[in-house]
Amino acid sequence: MEFAFTSEQKMIAETARVFFTENATRERTRQAMACDGVDYALWASFCQELGFSAIGIPENLGGAGLGLVEMAIIAEAAGAQVAAFPMFGSLVLCAQAIAAGGGAGQREDLLPRLMSGETIAAYGHAATLVDDGNGLSGEAAFVAHGASARIFVVTGNNGAWIVKADAPGVSIAQLTTMDQTRPYARVVLSGVVGEPLAQPGKAIAAAQRAGFVAIAAEALGGAQACLDRTVAYARERIQFGRSIGSFQAYKHRLADMMIEIEQARSAVYWAACATDEGAVDAELAAHAAKSFAADTYFMCAGNMIQLHGGIGFTWEHDAHLFFKRARALQSMLGNGDWHREQVAAMIFGEMA
């Protein structure tokens, strides 16, 4: 039975935990929230000093040769601090898409720039995207950190392209977004010259696979942080002359959070591990993890507010950062109902 972190994985987890705790502080995150949701200093030291940005990219493409398990470990640690940086769009979605479906030239050109953090990429999907000979036209509505990106991977129903942010015909509007640590942009293309990815199907599949797992891992980290912070609050808060954690209603809500979180943890590392091992249930696992962990996070963040009482819904307290991120993770890349419907279709043998 080896469904536990190796000592190397433990080390990565601990290093990442310390890094995000020390660097993704509430002060710095709030500064980033007031602008484009990127803490550039955090991003630079994450990519250049810590050296975790290459995780998930094969060694022959210049990556660290580690898999989704390690990527999940990093995403979990980042999620625990609601870190404001573009790892998800740039390193998870775009880098995975390029690594899996880009041509040799695209990989060699782009992956090093993404891994170094020098270039931020963002990932957008536009069902209506067409290349009518005069270039790409269409609109990607909710592009995470889109206003901070220099290049985009845009996908449509029949292809995937690299598009430069400064290419003629690209217009980018940053949107005031509920989760200010990961604001959306609307990216409109009108006759834009894009560079097609060599194998769009592979690219999209890889981005989704990694995206589902990374969202789930981030949600797990966030949910656990909600629990940890509420437990700490319960230890010090006195109400009605008693420690508030001595009230059974309070205790049991904390227990309910832990029950969900433990399952979310199983889900995340099952999905990551199954994908890395190419197991037959990897796809089912990814849908399960995305839907379960995001719901767990939302439940825990909601409870965090409730269990903090009035202070929990102030701007000053961090609870709302978790709450809003949790909501964002629920609706990104397909909501829970959609993911569960995919699972149902697999169960009933309705998919190939």
Partner: protein, 392 residues
């Protein structure tokens, strides 16, 4: 048992609707449809005065104090028509629904004369100072101190969640007037003028970016010795009586606001196709049913003549609407999808439905958390043992 209103009531309904719609399409057009508590405070004070002039401010009060002595049925009708006409919420609802009734019940003749006509006319706006930073749901834990000094009460301490304090003229304050007392003993209920050097009001920015609530700081704040309601040390009894006024006719007006929110969700679901999802349809049906049941629960509550028996509908009402509305916020977002997570404004200002989603997290907290509500229901409604206080 009857649901329908009488012909006389329906005539009264028409009268209310005509007057309210006239105002909202006329002089007060600019404030029609406002839902945020903090929007257009000055115009809304003027609206309070207009209500007062036309004697619509406190229709359930006795005629001598500026009311109309309206029946319960008429009060229900007015509350419904008020909301139906898109009139914004009352900035003096604390004065009308809490302070006024408390003064009516416990005040001296002088206090009645001083405050009631003025509240009824919309000239005196009240807010309440109950909660404190370390005594959220636990009013017996109040620490704000009041001492009698030279014919005046001198008050020091801090209140929190004093909604509307930035608008109000007066605040009623639950204070600890007996030094060394603890728990529910030694509390006194004071009415204080808000605009004085010893009182400072600071907005609390919330999760939705807005500031409906405030902190209020008292530093040697003062009021005359006769500003207390009831006797010194009697504050607990008054506060409990006052909380009992919190349920009543106004709930039906509140429900009309909920109705508007649900209708907007239904509209959005039709527009964006969410109405085709059987999962969303179930949730919308549940929300609709829940809202209807609130209405009929409120009617049962108002129809209950036997006040000696604990009224289950009244006892369970707060947690019911609060939980319902929090769920409604989640439903709203699931109907809107990611579109609900962005706004066209630059200033983190939210349209009604996303704002509902964010703000409704507070509904299950203020006015007694869901946990406190369940304690009350089990203890008062079902006779279960009371939760012990610690001695820490």
């Amino acid at each position: 048992m009857k649901l329908g209103f009488s012909t006389g009531d329906e005539l009264f309904r028409q009268e209310c609707a005509d007057w309210l719609n006239g105002q909202m399409s006329g002089e007060f057009k600019d404030i029609k449809g406002i839902t945020k508590l903090t929007a257009s405070p000055e115009r809304r004070k003027e609206w309070e005065q207009r209500l007062g002039e036309a004697r619509w401010g406190c229709i359930g009060w006795p005629i001598e104090w500026g009311g109309r002595g309206a029946t319960l049925g008429q009060q229900v009708i007015f509350a419904e028509e008020y909301a139906r006409a898109g009139v914004p919420g009352r900035v003096n609802h604390i004065g009308v629904e809490l302070a006024g009734p408390t003064i009516l019940a416990f005040g001296t003749p002088e206090q009645k004369q001083r405050f009631l006509p003025s509240i009824a006319k919309g000239m005196t706006i009240f807010c309440q100072g109950f909660s404190e930073p370390n005594a959220g749901s636990d009013l017996a834990g109040v620490r704000t101190a009041a001492r009698l000094e030279g014919g005046e009460w001198v008050v020091n301490g801090q209140k929190i969640w004093t909604s509307l304090a930035h608008i109000a003229d007066w605040i009623f304050v639950l204070s600890r007037s007996e030094k060394g007392s603890s728990g529910p003993n030694g509390l006194t209920f004071l009415m204080m003028e808000l605009r004085q050097p010893g009182i400072e009001v600071r907005g609390i920015k919330q999760i939705n970016g807005d500031s409906e609530f405030n902190e209020t700081f008292f530093t040697d704040a003062r009021c005359p010795a006769d500003s207390l309601i009831g006797a010194a040390g009697d504050g607990w009894r008054i506060a409990m009586g006052l909380l009992a006024f919190e349920r009543g006719v106004s709930t039906l007006g509140q429900q009309m606001g909920f109705r508007n929110e649900l209708d907007e969700i239904i509209r959005a679901a039709k527009e964006n196709g969410a109405a085709r999802s059987p999962l969303i349809r179930q949730r919308i049906a549940k929300a609709e049913i829940g809202l209807r049941l609130m209405r009929y629960g409120a009617l049962r509550m108002l129809s209950n003549a036997d006040h000696s028996k604990i009224d289950g509908a009244a006892l369970t009402y707060k947690i019911q609407w609060a939980s319902w509305r929090r769920g409604l916020g989640e439903l709203a977002m699931d109907v809107l999808g990611q579109a609900g997570e962005v706004t066209d404004t630059n200033d983190y200002e939210w349209a009604a439905l996303p704002n509902l989603f964010l703000f409704s997290r507070a509904d299950t907290i203020y006015g007694g958390t869901n946990q406190i509500q369940r304690n009350l229901i089990a203890e008062r409604g079902l006779g279960m043992p009371r939760e012990p206080r610690g001695d820490a």
